[in-house]
Amino acid sequence: MRVRGFIMGYEELFPKNDLSGWHANAVKRFASPFVDNFHDRIDVDPIILSNAAVNCGFTIRDFYEKPELGIHCVGYISELYDLLPVTHWFFSLPWVRELGITLEYKDTLPPVPTGPILDANGVENMQPISKQDLLKGSTVPLFYGLYDYVQKNLGHTLVPISYGFDLVGAAAELIGVEEFIMWTFTEPDLAHKLVDSYVATSINGAEAMADKYGFAMLIVGSVLANNDIFADEQVEEFSAKKMGYYVDQCFRRGAGPQVFYHLCGNHETDYKVFKKNLLWSPFNVLHIGYQGPKVFPSDLLKKEFQDVTTCMGSVDTKLMINANPAKVYDQAKESLLAGRDSKKGFILGTSCETPPYTIPGNLLALTRAARDFGTYGTW
């Protein structure tokens, strides 16, 4: 980056985190829900991405075009709102470039595909990308470079992560989302072949990450596969079962044991198909965004999943750009009171990534609610 004629590393743009104060406390708090070592309060994770860049005076495009800058913004701004002590950087379409898609950077969005690249014949002949080829591609080098930067400049926040992310949604981009939805009815075998090829590629990518770092947290979700588009049976066949397979295969290749399951969008009734199909490790978090038009209720999340996972409750992301911090606070309070005594821990989140232009007062409202109501049970 050139600032007034000088070449600067991104690390020179940020003061160091308060390691002995904020970070030390946040580390203990972050461990709480996973090891039953309760500390401070329930953690808040608004899935902060380009909002961190905006908060530091950069743009949404900067966040995605300059991953090292983006992740440094996340590490730095997390201190302001007393969020997680770890960093992440991602967008929803890892591995698709190796499969042939061209991504275009935008001013106001994460990278988007320029268009579908495969037809039925192309899918029939589709092969997963091997680990060796992924090492020469763009996604693995991108994340190796990113985590090398974090290791050097933000080592206290490092968690190597491999993203399967939205297995169905990313695969669908290869033929076009509308076409994919049609195929699930008219050409289900081809639709499965398409998703399976993306899943196999993602598994190879996770192995490449685990090879370098010794382990790799997994983030995998069901975003396109939700009840606004599919019936429960389709969500199970195309998404839940493949998510379970993805995690099992990643475990066999040395990735994990941490898993973040992100069920974005409306999972009104399909939430029932995930418990039996997913793999639950000693360190996993399950997050469900919505039940119909409303945030997924934390009491239901707790009832269904507390015996296998740490649960992450939601405040509606729409509220995060609404000039009404009290509304955020009230919904956060409701989520915390309903979920805070989950058997394997609870985290307060937003129903998806907090929007880039989230109002700072609303992020403060989340943390304030966690301080006021985020005790674990009667602790």
Binding site: A31, F34, V35, D36, N37, G214, F215, D248, F251, R252, G254, G256, P257, Q258, K275, K276, N277, L279, W280, S281, P282, F283, D307, V308, T309, K344
Partner: protein
């Protein structure tokens, strides 16, 4: 009458077992216990047996022909507790009761915390087993993270 068979370790298997901090004698104890009691699971071509030795659960993966050939040995520190759920049939059968083993999840406890992990389970007896890839990779890293996070 129990016929005692030779237990054979190839140099490679022996090295791998010792590389995991386990003793060959411990693997022998697991096999001898399993052969005496039928407390083992089989997929038709090999057996897996387990035994708690001190603070660890030690597993032997072995085949039986003219002698007993050890394929591998592994262990985990997390303690097996109750079965959380079973979800599908596996290729394994519990020799002791003849029941089909199911894929499932079992609670494991370690350093005061209880968390679940994928496992092979027999709901009838309440017994669970971890496969080698889970014990040697996923659970081994989890034990390390538990130790760090509880510190």
């Amino acid at each position: 009458m129990v016929i005692k068979m030779d237990i054979v370790f190839s140099d490679e298997v022996k090295k791998a077992i010792e590389g995991k901090g386990l003793k060959v004698d411990d693997i022998k104890k697991v096999i001898e216990g399993a052969e005496a009691s039928n407390d083992k699971i089989t997929n038709g071509s090999k057996f897996i047996a387990k035994k708690v030795l001190g603070d660890v659960t030690v597993y032997a993966d072995y085949s039986v022909g003219g002698s007993i050939t050890v394929n591998s040995g592994y262990a985990h520190k997390m303690k097996l507790q109750d079965i959380v759920m079973d979800t599908a049939d596996s290729e394994w059968t519990y020799v002791k009761n003849g029941k089909k083993i199911r894929k499932g999840h079992t609670n494991l406890s370690f350093m005061g915390a209880t968390r679940s992990a994928p496992s092979l389970v027999d709901p009838a007896s309440g017994e669970s087993w971890l496969e080698e890839y889970l014990a040697a990779k996923t659970i081994a890293v989890a034990e390390m993270l538990f130790s760090q996070k509880r510190a």
